[in-house]
């Protein structure tokens, strides 16, 4: 009954002779909050970038509502408009104000008129608490604020899935909380999210599903209660011991 929004099948990715992802299989359902955890270099970010077609797959396929989007048959721009992405380095458009950042995609990609786009942008900027800053440019606000704007920009496209690529890794510790709070509120609103993160508390307390990756494969996955309290794999156990003791 439950339809998979995203389905990754036998996905492999190699940069030259270096295999980064090896035969990855997993699915994302509506309303899932999936955290992908693992050591640096385990292929987490590459997986996310493959899903958003920022990297080309070496082999395998990615199904979006059952349709293969990886073979160039579907216009990648149309697909990306439905799958939002939030980056580690925010990637806000430096030549635009906060408001324009949240409007441009709606106007040019979704062809929404200016007034409606502004309304929607303000709605989502309100949601992330950045509405008072609509006239600021990205270089005038802090990292945490930038990331909240970036989330609003992605939300303004009203995507079906939101991908987060280490959204708090480039932030000062005191700004991590404000971004995580926004992500938590999205989870409460039943937004479907796929989050690559080093924030174990988020993975444990907020997500509905946790994927542990090591050396380009999915070592273990399951509900957070199982992964965090009773991991089956030895590597998962060791990884968690290492990061949770810090």
């Amino acid at each position: 009954m439950s339809e998979h929004i995203l389905e990754v099948r036998h996905l492999s990715k190699a940069f030259g002779s270096h295999a980064v992802l090896k035969d990855i299989d997993f699915t994302v359902d509506k309303g899932d909050v999936t955290s992908i955890i693992g050591a640096s270099g385990s292929g987490k970010s590459t997986l996310l970038r493959c899903i958003n077609l920022l990297e080309t797959l070496t082999t395998g396929e990615i199904l979006f509502h059952g349709k293969d989007i990886s073979k160039g048959k579907i216009n990648p721009s149309e697909y990306r408009a439905k799958v939002g992405m939030v980056f580690q380095n925010f990637n806000l458009f430096n030549n635009m104000t906060v408001l324009a950042n949240c409007m441009i995609g709606q106007q040019k990609v979704s062809k929404i008129n200016k007034e409606e786009a502004k309304k929607r942008a303000l709605y989502y900027l309100n949601k992330v608490g950045m509405a008072p800053y609509i006239n600021a440019r990205p270089d005038q606000i802090s990292g945490g604020q930038k990331q909240r704007v970036a989330i609003a920009r992605a939300l303004a496209m009203e995507p079906e899935v939101l991908l987060f690529d280490e959204p708090t890794s480039a932030l000062d510790p005191e700004m991590v909380g404000e971004v995580l709070d926004v992500m938590k509120s999205l989870a409460r609103d039943k937004m479907t999210m796929l989050v690559v993160t080093h924030e174990m508390s988020f993975a444990r307390d907020v997500s509905s599903h946790v994927v542990y990756m090591a050396d380009g494969i999915i070592e273990e996955e399951g509900p957070p209660s199982e992964i965090f309290t009773n991991p089956k794999s030895l590597r998962t156990r060791e990884f968690l011991k290492r990061v949770l003791n810090d």
């Binding site: 721009s77 990637n91 709605y123 608490g129 509405a131 008072p132």
Partner: protein, 276 residues
Amino acid sequence: MFAQLLSDVGSLWAKYGTVYLTGIANTLILAVTATLIGCIIGFLCGILQTIPYGPNDHFIKRFLLKLIRIILRAYVEIFRGTPMILQAVFIYYGMPYFFGISFKDIWTVSIIVVSINTGAYMAESVRGGIMSIDPGQFEGAKAIGMNHWQTMLYVILPQTLRNIMPQIGNNYIINVKDTSVMFIIGFSDFFAVHKMVSGAVFKYFPSAFMEMIGYLCLTLLASFLLRKMEKKLAGKSNYELVNTDQLVMAAGTYSYPAEAGTPFDEISKDYKGEKK
């Protein structure tokens, strides 16, 4: 001695003032038009050169894109690597040979020559400008579903323009001076006026003196205007918090209680209501 020069300049100006002014106007119009068209050519080259293609693309698409890059490369190398004075001769006298087109209007041919020459330099400037933009800007644009043209037009090129403003200034100033070589095909610019007038009245130095001052004024004015434009492109250095807008009634603080939803529910309702 200086008094002599001034009186010579005065008499030249009295007799040929309007001729000099026409020359200045011609030079200015040609330089401005050609620089603008050159910029457009440069930006177009920038967009075309950066169209991405991958191994998954159809081979005809890959072939065409490669071909475009080769053609643009050749264009840049040829027009950057030969003197403009020769390019003028080639196009003005060569077109009738090859295509049977002869130019009746010297303006058209001059604008074409200077524009494509400028375009070749601008293409390289734009390429450099695009390379200087953080790849994250491309990815951010792609991630919200923009295609290559939209990414370039709304995100990358505006930032590129700001970065290469000094080079556009360079090109414009070079054009103000170098359009003087267009006399070879009979374009009567500011320098051509000097040759004509000094040939008629044999006052070489006073005329050259006026030319020097004239060119310097043109370029100084250009520098001044370009600085102004750069400042404008840089945008405001501060911003105002918006706490008064009705849509934005939130007090500007971020924290809101976790369970109670957002303090903006009024707006949420309004917004949700408008949506079908």
